[in-house]
Symmetry: C2
Subunit: 369 residues, 2 copies
Amino acid sequence: MAGKPDHSDKDASRIIISVDAMGGDAGPAVVVAGIAMSADKNPDIGFILHGPEAELKPLVAKKRILDGRVAFRDAPDVVTMEDKPSQVMRNGKGTSMWSALDSVKQGEAAGAVSCGNTGALMALSMLRLRKLPGVNRPAIAILWPSLNPQGFNVMLDVGADVRADAQDLLQYALMGTSYVRNSMDITRPRVGLLNVGTEEHKGHAELKEAHSLIASYADDAQFEFVGFVEGGDIPGNVVDVIVTDGFTGNVAIKTGEGTASLMRTAMRDAFSYSILSKMAALLAMTSLRRLSKRLDPRRVNGGVFLGLNGTVIKSHGGADATGVSAAVKLAFRLAQQGFAEKLAARVASSAALTQDNAASASRSADPAE
Amino acid sequence: MAGKPDHSDKDASRIIISVDAMGGDAGPAVVVAGIAMSADKNPDIGFILHGPEAELKPLVAKKRILDGRVAFRDAPDVVTMEDKPSQVMRNGKGTSMWSALDSVKQGEAAGAVSCGNTGALMALSMLRLRKLPGVNRPAIAILWPSLNPQGFNVMLDVGADVRADAQDLLQYALMGTSYVRNSMDITRPRVGLLNVGTEEHKGHAELKEAHSLIASYADDAQFEFVGFVEGGDIPGNVVDVIVTDGFTGNVAIKTGEGTASLMRTAMRDAFSYSILSKMAALLAMTSLRRLSKRLDPRRVNGGVFLGLNGTVIKSHGGADATGVSAAVKLAFRLAQQGFAEKLAARVASSAALTQDNAASASRSADPAE
């Protein structure tokens, strides 16, 4: 209010996001357009951009809003969608992805965003940032359009690891609630465990074990455990966090995306069937725009890697500028909330709890009826 | 063409479908309305109707088209949606579901249709009809709206059993191709194995084993093995048959159904947002009807139980008359094609093949590169 804002202070208070400019389907120009969009909306954000500097500098120079807000880290190599994670772990040191993660590791940036190869990004993230103490399997969490008041549910794991045991699923529940609390202002998230029915006798034995383990933590960790949920609840309004293994979660999101895309195709066909239906489509344009905005996958772009020492956001490989900007915004928001530190504290305390509870849980599981 | 049709001959040549009148959410009136719809469209169909005869007779009497085409089997008890399969297996003898399956077992009917509890129906089907020789786990196959020329893909298993090993998945591939061939006139179906990626190094070890097992049968069993497919391919056009375990398949279909339902809600909201959008909706009515017809789940109502001595169709619990009629039509069509016999022959010959191939497969798996 009083006095002229001090520009250098402003710079210092900015939250810096590390961005891998390469690896997306549409190339670095789209990534630069995305961060320019973010910079325009948010004066408190700055960037470290990773990739071939000679290629990136002219792209950044074209966007006046990025003036003085982008630092470069030259990285000549690119991780492609075809590269296997194991290869990238051995030979990826010169890549923009590796460099982007290193900025987080060095504490230069509060989080990293990449549109690149998911498997490679997870493998490099584990290699460079390391797992949080107490986390066995990190997870990828995504937002999913739903009938919830907030418009989204969080589901994890959607593909970091094809396997998860009861302990892992408990960790996912804890990390997922922490994520929801910090990204959506929900103080007591509702958590559900994905299964083929809501009755407690259904599903795999591991799921029954996870059910009682997660239930035993609900009070201490301040979430509401809804119990088993079904695939139909993912876009519904009975939970805020859906916990599952990475195999099931990955199949579920891809089936959901595929179904949505089939419906869009069918809708397009229906409205281009005849001259009359084309006219109706013209008149319905505003409604159709409203619909597609509500279900726009770009609004929820960004899978968050949970369980690492640092925040990593995987943007969709096919993301456009709006999508990249959404992923950057998510990284910013989580940094602003001090999410990485809160998550680390939470997982550490729950790891201690797990050791305590292992004994008491096995006691309370005695047949007492 | 010549002479008056002989009525008794007509009766004798009818294909008889056994229908469980009870257990659906909407009660027996809807089931009777459904079979009346089928009877109206198809002169070659007759019914045995199971349930409390005193309740059913007046309902049937109201539908003139059903005159002389329905036999009754009085069954006082009903399997509810809450009943556990194990209870029904012990105490279900007086239920309409049990009775409906018995008509198939006795050879009085060519197939059974029920809207009741899926778990109970599968358990009773296994108890009364028994598994086909060579089948370890029966499966439930459903049709899924897709971008295929035929408009549907077949997916199995969607919930008969939460587990499936490589042998089971091979059986699913064989049963699924047989089903597609007999219900859709596709001579060389394309088969895909559901996984989290299409690369051969991805997914669980069991899936890799199933991949090579199914591949080794493709030529003999006359299907095209596409290899691994992803969730997004379920509504797509790269396969005709999608093979997966009952846990994954069940989560996938429910996620897809939930997503479709979310989109319908969002579309309704978009078109009722303002007076203008309501007017647009009125004008777009024909297009919207065309869309909803294409994606109408009632058109594809009916999960088929594969791997039993007899055809059993599970209609959706919430099916209306159109849905019941679609399930009846599917049972009729499969009976007409002699599907049960063809499937039995196919599975038997493949069981013999499996024994032969077990030896040669392990030989060919020797590291020969």
